[in-house]
Symmetry: C2
Subunit: 454 residues, 2 copies
């Protein structure tokens, strides 16, 4: 029989078992965190009608979309989780209760040029809060707490949540008479971290034709190092949009301590603007302290109109998105995946050593009732090979059931880490194993060491 070489498409992440366990642990922790904040899970189809999915128009991303026909249907794989959300909310608005808070963790598809760390199939983890007509700023204020607790649940400590408000930028450029250039100015200012103040200033004056005094003012505000509200205060009362932006930013920063966000993990950053035509108020970015070059690992913000291309109903919202597959790749690359995570498929390998397997089965059944993951080893191999199996998989305990044990009504447990062997009644050993495991299972998927927060 001629063989086909098995291979996985380039740009599609496929993990070996131990890594998959770590990835799934990250997903589980995010689900738990999002659930704690009252978000309900959604799971929309991966395929949609192209007419529906591309209703907004694509621009740059349209070329990347996996689009094809099947029979009469023009179909596309989803390229984000926002458009399917817009479709879902517009379609089901009558049956939803607003504000509607949903999370979705799912795969999306973009046929980008394949390169290291870029994926064509990747997970996004999104939360959004959608209002019907209006949505209180208190919803924006919750987001830093959710970001902090989500990453904290993963084990990440050295990151900074950066917040700004687009209304501040819009109003400020109105004050400076730069409204017609506002988008270009924002795009330039967004590069401050990368290219420095001098180059930003040069770009503003030379390429955008901003007057030197105005450019100086722009830079003075955005690179202000003290309390940002002191800097903003100077312009108060001169522009309504600006003032509203400042009051919204204050609302977002006011209850941070009550939300449990340490000061070290949060910063007002007047440079960030995010996608220029979508966000209208609060904007968020999150960066790894030791790896700013990776860019934002969790971004989002406030938008006025989720689903204008489907419905006249005004649906403002606020949300964030984590590019989970890329984050996982980056964390692995940085050596941040926690080696202490128990990645074995089982907690106990039950090894029957007699023809009567019923005792082994009973032991495994008893362990499972306690929530302990037990695998029965059914292969006809030498004793050494059975232990090697547990060892290679990292299974922490092996339960041995030989003639002696059966005769005495006992079980021998070998702790594969210490090598220690104990023979006792099954009931006693099961409880003991469960207790020892609870420590092993508390490990978080990420360990980025050197805490800045504790």
């Amino acid at each position: 029989m001629s063989k086909v070489t098995p291979r996985t498409l380039s740009g599609f992440m496929e993990l070996l078992p131990a890594r998959q366990v770590q990835f799934d642990l990250m997903v589980a922790r995010l689900r738990e965190t999002f659930s704690l904040y009252g978000f309900t899970p959604l799971d929309t189809p991966l395929l949609e009608s192209s007419e529906v999915l591309l209703a907004k128009g694509g621009g740059d991303t349209e070329k990347q979309i996996y689009r094809f026909t099947k029979g009469e249907s023009d179909l596309s794989l989803r390229f984000d989780l926002t458009v399917p959300l817009a479709k879902y909310v517009a379609q089901n608005a009558g049956q939803l209760v607003f504000p509607f808070r949903r999370f979705q963790i799912g795969k999306v598809y973009r046929g980008e040029r394949a390169q290291r760390g870029r994926f064509r199939e990747f997970y996004q983890a999104d939360i959004d809060i959608i209002g019907d007509g209006e949505l209180g700023i208190g919803n924006d204020a919750e987001i830093p707490g959710i970001i902090y607790n989500a990453f904290n649940a993963l084990g990440l400590r050295n990151f900074v949540i950066r917040v700004n408000n687009r209304k501040i930028l819009t109003g400020y450029y109105e004050i400076l008479g730069l409204s017609d250039k506002a988008q270009d100015v924002m795009r330039t200012v967004d590069k401050l971290d990368k290219i420095g103040a001098d180059k930003v200033s040069a770009l503003l004056t030379d390429e955008l034709g901003v007057a030197p005094e105005a450019a100086a003012q722009v830079l003075a505000l955005i690179s202000h190092t003290g309390d940002p509200f002191d800097a903003l205060e100077q312009y108060a009362g001169r522009n309504a949009t600006f003032d509203l932006g400042v009051s919204e930013l204050r609302a977002v920063t006011r209850d941070l301590a009550a939300f449990g966000v340490p000061e070290a993990n949060f910063r007002v950053d007047l440079t960030i603007a995010r996608g220029l035509d979508y966000y209208t108020g609060t904007v968020f970015e999150t960066t790894l302290t030791a790896h700013p070059e990776i860019g934002s690992i969790c971004s989002g913000g406030r938008y006025d109109d989720l689903a204008g291309y489907y419905t006249d109903r005004k649906l403002p919202g606020v949300g964030i998105s984590i590019g989970l597959t890329r984050l996982f790749f980056v964390l692995e690359d940085c050596g941040y995946l926690n080696d202490a995570v128990l990645t074995a498929p089982a907690d106990v390998l039950v090894v029957p050593m007699t023809d009567d397997t019923s005792h082994a089965v009973q032991l495994a059944t008893a362990l499972r009732k306690l929530g302990v993951r037990a695998q029965i080893y059914s292969e006809n191999k030498k004793f050494k090979q059975k232990l090697a199996y547990a060892d290679r998989l990292g299974i922490p305990f092996v339960a041995l059931l030989g003639e002696d044990e059966l005769a005495a009504g006992k079980v021998t447990i070998k702790d594969m880490r210490s090598g220690e062997q104990t023979t006792a009644s099954a009931a006693l050993l099961c409880e003991g194993i469960r207790d020892k495991l609870s420590g092993l299972k508390a490990a978080k998927p990420i360990n980025d060491a050197k805490p800045i927060v504790d």
Copy 2:
């Protein structure tokens, strides 16, 4: 702005929030059960190279495959989880530890004609145990226990796991001199439940040309109503394949009690054969007692060769698959989804009623630390509307923080089911809510009433 009508493709299940919670609860219970038996999670891409995915050749299903080109690539959406497993194991054999036990719960795609209860995008939940060269029968013996405990974890009680062994059928037809017609005979006999013994007999003699005595013998064995091993005993020693099949079937039935499978949920059924060219030994089907017309809700069996089209390495395995989307549809249709499941997105709606929101935030933070899902209601609405929000979503508790409560350092909790209001310290109330919730959260996703097992 012209609008596009938002719609979801026909044959693609998209659930409203409460139903999605129930679906996700089923997935979570299956993950937990599979994990208890030592299966490791896999997550392979949804897209594969067509050359790789269709290496085995498609036959009937090939027309149904979503296949398309993107740039130079000929791509297909996976139509099951078995071929991607075969690819994965063949590709990574050097890095896997055998027996390799994996579960995968994921979407697959088949462009079938749309009809009620048929889906084009649907979840499969698969487990497989793959050996390297050989695999002990003890692995087959575990499967009924896994099926039973998986469905039991979902809350399903009235179902029967049916088991047979293909070697028994193969050997029996050899004994009767029907080897050349064995596949046709199996296919006919498989219809016994649907069309009855007389029609099966007629088909065997008239269409397949089986001698009347042989047809009578076939029917006598497969419709035997007592202990099936008594019926099988008569043919012992006449055919090696038959004898091996009987001994394998004995091994699969021997430890059922130790595995915790009640007698009422298990049956040896000599009629079942499953896919005729794939399975080679043990075969499983599972039927709902009250709804046999739905067919098998969990099927599988033993195969000799997982990945022959990719590798010369012999990889025998045993596995089962649950068509989860269809099962969910059927359960809903039968009225078997458990109304007692808490489908609200939050356990407590925290309602601040003063300008200072910090106390509300602190309360929500404290609740979340206890694992209680708390949502802060930030909208500027009338008190009645705030309560109506909790009521419409089924949120069981509302925490009220007015001037009086803040002054007294207390919180008022309204139990939305009983209408009862309690004012006390936050710490006391948080613990009380957690305790009340633990009962609500124990509900299983399915309730098929009238227990046959308890």
